[in-house]
């Protein structure tokens, strides 16, 4: 069957009902709500409870998951980015307010545009990196300077010898000698340059940034690496090479290096917080980090607990879906485990209102904050964030800060309707009006 791949339940219900040719009033009667209420639902103005969704799914003869929200969120977000990237004076601007509609009616085209948007992003980053390299690579710059210098000398000297009818034998001998040394320098310089350019590893020209390669690999493994739980695992041993070998995702040397660092830290986390203990604690007190920190006795090492929770296998009883974001002292995101509904920017800066950055501004003071992510529908999450100095405090050394934020669905709180901090993904694609932290205008109108 064909259902629009919209993220919105109401839109999906309406589309499926239309496909079946069932009147709104008839469906409302079957599931036991008033037609006007169903109408509100279909226009995404009312949420749908789990029980009602079950009845709607069986009346519409589809598995309940196909009606549930969220499946198409990523697609819609990507299309929103694509719309935002349209030139400001595009003669016919993309109808950003009708993305849902578009995705519903042309799922194939929508997929294609999203895929192209991702590819454009990857290509832009490659161009940026290469431009950067051309402009700032000291080896390349020095090599080119040498070649141009020698060329200048050769050209000038050769012209003198070629044009001068009468030239003092002393000068002539000197110029011939200069030509010989210059030509030698020129050929050596050219060879060195070719060698340098050849040595650039082919993998380095890959499209994905190293961090994205690592994240793709982890996502492929379900963000959980059972090898690390084994008693004798050595994060510096050959078993690491074995884990990392032959994965398409880990193409570049930089990605492999990142993966090694990730494995070493994840292994240390696994040793400090062994799986059975964590599972037992989860069963006893539930998934909220403040409670877990207490029973597990992690003390001030909250980042470790956050990372550990984010890398547990899915399907553990009592463990909700998790997201994890880590940033360094500059605010640059260094690790992203996405959570459906909480959009993470693929590159560039994130929303400055994230509790991650509040934690970064106040090291060692953990933050617990209910947040509401902009979007349709707005989704609520509980964010737990803390910032720590890496390598401890030392005189005369700059503080190397790292902030870690764990995201859990709002449902872990008993009162999921408590006041929430409105946040976004990144200013460019965030529709929130009147935000004090906005650093650039949103390129897509409010939704």
């Amino acid at each position: 069957m064909s259902l629009p791949r919209s993220s919105l339940t109401g839109t999906r219900i309406r589309a499926r009902r239309t496909v079946l040719g069932v009147a709104q009033a008839e469906l409302a009667r079957q599931v036991g709500v008033s037609p006007s209420y169903l109408n509100l639902i279909e226009h995404n103005r009312r949420g749908v409870g789990a029980a009602l969704l079950d009845r709607l799914a069986s009346a519409l003869e589809v598995p309940v998951d196909t009606l549930r929200e969220g499946a198409g969120t990523q697609l819609v977000e990507t299309l929103r980015e694509a719309a935002a990237a349209a030139p400001a004076h595009h003669p016919a601007p993309p109808e950003a307010d009708r993305i849902e509609d578009f995705v519903g009616r042309f799922p194939g085209w929508a997929d294609l545009i999203a895929a192209q948007q991702r590819r454009i992003g990857a290509l832009e980053r490659t161009v940026e990196r290469l431009t950067d390299r051309m402009a700032h690579d000291p080896h390349l710059s020095a090599a080119l300077h040498e070649l141009l210098s020698v060329s200048a000398s050769l050209r000038s000297t050769a012209t003198i010898l070629a044009e001068a009818r009468e030239i003092d034998p002393g000068w002539q001998a000197r110029f011939l000698g200069n030509i010989e040394t210059d030509s030698l320098r020129l050929s050596e310089g050219a060879q060195a340059l070719v060698g340098y350019l050849d040595a650039a590893e082919p993998a380095e020209s890959g499209l994905a940034a190293p961090q994205e390669e690592l994240e793709a690999w982890l996502a492929d493994r379900g963000w959980h690496l059972p090898e690390l739980e084994a008693a004798g695992f050595d994060a510096a041993g050959p078993e690491v090479d074995e884990m990392l070998a032959g994965h398409g995702e880990l193409g570049s040397a930089s990605a492999i290096a990142l993966a090694r660092a990730y494995l070493a830290r994840a292994r240390a986390d696994a040793v400090a917080l062994p799986l059975p203990r964590v599972l037992e604690a989860l069963a006893r007190v539930g998934p909220k980090p403040p409670d877990l920190a207490e029973v597990l006795g992690v003390g001030s090492d909250l980042p470790r607990l956050f990372r550990r929770l984010a890398s547990l296998p899915d399907g553990v009883p009592g463990l909700p879906p998790r997201g994890l974001v880590i940033c360094d002292g500059s605010g640059t995101l260094t690790f992203r485990r996405p959570l459906p509904g909480f959009g993470l920017p693929r590159f560039g800066g994130a929303c400055p209102l994230w509790p991650l950055y509040q934690a970064l501004a106040a090291p060692l003071r953990p933050v617990e904050q209910m947040v509401e992510m902009s979007g349709r529908p707005a989704r609520r999450f509980v964010a737990y964030a803390v910032c720590e100095a890496q390598g401890g405090a030392r005189f005369g050394a700059p503080a190397v800060l790292e902030a870690t934020m764990l995201l859990l669905p709002a449902s872990v709180e008993t009162d999921a309707t408590a006041p929430a901090l409105p946040v976004g993904t990144s200013c460019r694609i965030c529709p929130r009006a009147g935000c004090a932290a906005r650093r650039e205008p949103a390129l897509v109108g409010g939704t």
Binding site: L154, I160, N178
Partner: protein, 122 residues
């Protein structure tokens, strides 16, 4: 007696070629290969024209040019800048610091001669 051109450039073979071309054209030519003490050499020599390389050991040609322009004694000295990077950024920088003319390597001998003749009334 010809007018005096001072060449500040650290590539000896380029210095040799420029010296030969200019002397053959009737100029008096002297040279210096380092940036760090270039200001003193320029003041002592008081040339009619300065040919100044950008990438010098010790001190950059831009830096020297800026100091020259800041000193009333040398503010009007014609300066021909040489650089191995013919990018517009370098040209802009040279112009901003007050270079009389800008020449990127590799240059032709006729180009050098024409520039020097144009910058100094002979």
């Amino acid at each position: 007696m010809g007018k005096h051109v001072l060449v500040i450039e650290d590539e000896p073979n380029i210095v040799a070629a420029i010296t030969f071309i200019l002397r053959r054209d009737g100029w008096q030519v002297s040279s210096h290969a380092s940036g760090s003490d270039a200001m003193q050499v320029i003041r002592d020599a008081a040339p009619d024209l300065l040919i100044l390389d950008v990438m010098l050991p010790g001190r950059s040609g831009y830096d020297i040019l800026r100091e020259l322009r800041g000193d009333p004694a040398t503010a009007d000295l014609p300066v021909l800048m040489l650089t191995a990077k013919g990018q517009s950024r370098d040209r802009q920088m040279a112009e901003a610091f007050g270079a009389s003319r800008f020449m990127s390597k590799p240059f032709s001998n006729t180009e050098v001669l024409a520039s020097v003749r144009e910058l100094v009334d002979t």
